[in-house]
Symmetry: C2
Subunit: 318 residues, 2 copies
């Protein structure tokens, strides 16, 4: 993953129309990156159309260009497809349509920061940096492309999101150096942070209370968990991020009842314990520090047995 | 506030002993900055002694050198006094002792980022940057002083704290450029962020539930407030930061009953409304976006009248 960036002007010609796709249920790194391409490509005389087939409540409306996002496949003829922040084509809900376009010989530019990206593009631009936002910023800067203030805001948001407000271990010297460049262009830091993190409703507060009310810490502080009921009001709060603020606990689990016999499980690990490996035992997956799985069965049966297995596995690691 | 930095080696001589003082109830900018001086000065052959006469539960123990903090006045003879992050000598609990030392002719180096600093030092190093951590970093870098990894961690913590995780409007290009330099030296970003923001106890969760339970939004969304009872378990959560996550609301108020006829009020404003001016009407003070006051009287009388005045003043601004 250490090749030099391919010259961006070789991938794009004046007058080109590019279809940009992102992974399903896109986050702010995916959408911020797509919109940054929109603004930066347009300065090269290239039109970007962004296809977001699905979304799950993440708010994008504060990003410059959000009205350009298309929730059905944009019409027209494309000169290339760019796929951002997507480690595998199977994470693309537009897979069939895109597969057809690629079969027809359309160039596919695959831009990603996930280390397990499968390199499915005709051009693959893969760097293990914090975010696609950071990758694109570095690329644009290296090419000497002008990043305008709209693109800078989108890139800043993307980086901020995928680094958890510059707090994860994926933050490097380059991350902050690039953010300094973006702020130089013009980014209203306070406004974006408020739009990203201070958009809760009173319903979010209700969900937070429910989550806090049910928090249980394993007697040996091995892990903490909470159980969320089936019927929740629409909310934006990430329950796992709420409970992971507990000190002295390494692993956090949120159970959410989805239906009569489905329980969604989200897991986080602050250190040591590999939740991806653990989730895999139940058919789930993810990353070492963040993983998930959907359990099948009655919640009052599958939850206790999941917790018993976790207690056993974590004790074994001590 | 735009003079060049005075050469640090002119202020310090090999073998010097420096007394470092910070404002009362110091925060992580003050303590991180003091410890950064400790580590950086020691490389110049200078001994720094840090006097922290009081503290109010802020946890410093994760900072390199925390065991060097002295909670009574250090013995010995000093060659100069450095006062960090303190806009006025009256915010120094050690005022009398320090005043005596200064009367005896001891040089006083006043290092601060508050715009209302009174310039009480014999040398004043005042810059309106995000934090004293940022100021010291810029100064050390300009002087070519080596910032070791312990100092880098302390400076990173100071900047992170006073910028609210790089989210306030005091964040500039320089802030991120300097953080990039610090990360280059070596900072465990994830470990420090966890130590700063993920140290809650189950008691904190209880306090959060109490706060969320009492949140009331003014019918016109002018402001939101919560009322905390007198008896709270020890906690670290900042209730005002919890409730300010509400969308569509500009001003936030937390009332806390202190005793039979004292109510502490904390205020925040996201934009437009000047809470300092408002708090001043009740004898309080602070900043445009963050202010406070202690009200005297029964809570069931002073709180409603405070809220009525707030509703009236905020309506007037519309």
């Amino acid at each position: 993953m250490s090749h030099p960036y391919p010259p961006i002007r070789d991938l794009l010609s004046q007058g080109d129309t590019v279809l940009i796709c992102v992974h399903q249920f896109p986050d702010l790194d995916a959408i911020g990156s797509a919109l940054a391409c929109y603004w930066t490509f347009s300065q090269l005389g290239v039109t970007a159309r962004i296809w977001v087939p699905d979304q799950d409540g993440v708010v994008f409306d504060f990003l410059p260009g959000a009205s350009e996002l298309s929730y059905s496949c944009p019409d027209g003829v494309f000169d290339s497809i760019w796929i951002l922040d997507c480690s595998s084509l199977s994470r693309l809900p537009a897979e069939q349509k895109v597969a057809r376009l690629v079969e027809e010989g359309l160039p596919l530019v695959n831009v990603d920061h996930h280390v397990d990206n499968q390199g499915f593009g005709s051009v693959n631009v893969l760097r293990p940096v914090s975010s696609v936002g950071e990758l694109l910023s570095a690329w644009f800067l290296q090419e000497g492309l002008e990043i305008n203030s709209k693109a800078a805001q989108c890139l800043y948001t993307a980086i901020n999101f995928d680094t958890g407000r510059f707090s994860y271990s994926n933050v490097t010297q380059q991350t902050h150096a690039i953010v300094a460049e973006l702020l130089n262009v013009g980014v209203d830091v306070a406004a974006i942070t408020q739009a990203m993190y201070e958009r809760f409703s009173l319903q979010d507060f209700e969900v937070m209370k429910m989550a806090l009310d049910k928090v249980t810490v394993h007697p040996g502080s091995l892990f903490a968990y909470t159980i969320m009921p089936k019927k929740l009001p629409p909310h934006q709060v990430k329950v796992i991020d709420l409970i992971r603020q507990l000190d002295q606990v390494v692993v956090f689990v949120v159970f959410q009842e989805l239906s009569a016999n489905k329980v969604k499980v989200s897991m986080r690990s602050k250190s040591i314990f590999d939740v991806q490996q653990f989730a895999a035992k139940f058919g789930g997956g993810g990353h070492v520090r963040a993983a998930g799985v959907v359990l099948t069965g009655e919640s009052d049966q599958v939850i206790p047995s999941f917790l018993a297995q976790l207690a056993s596995d974590m004790s074994g690691e001590r």
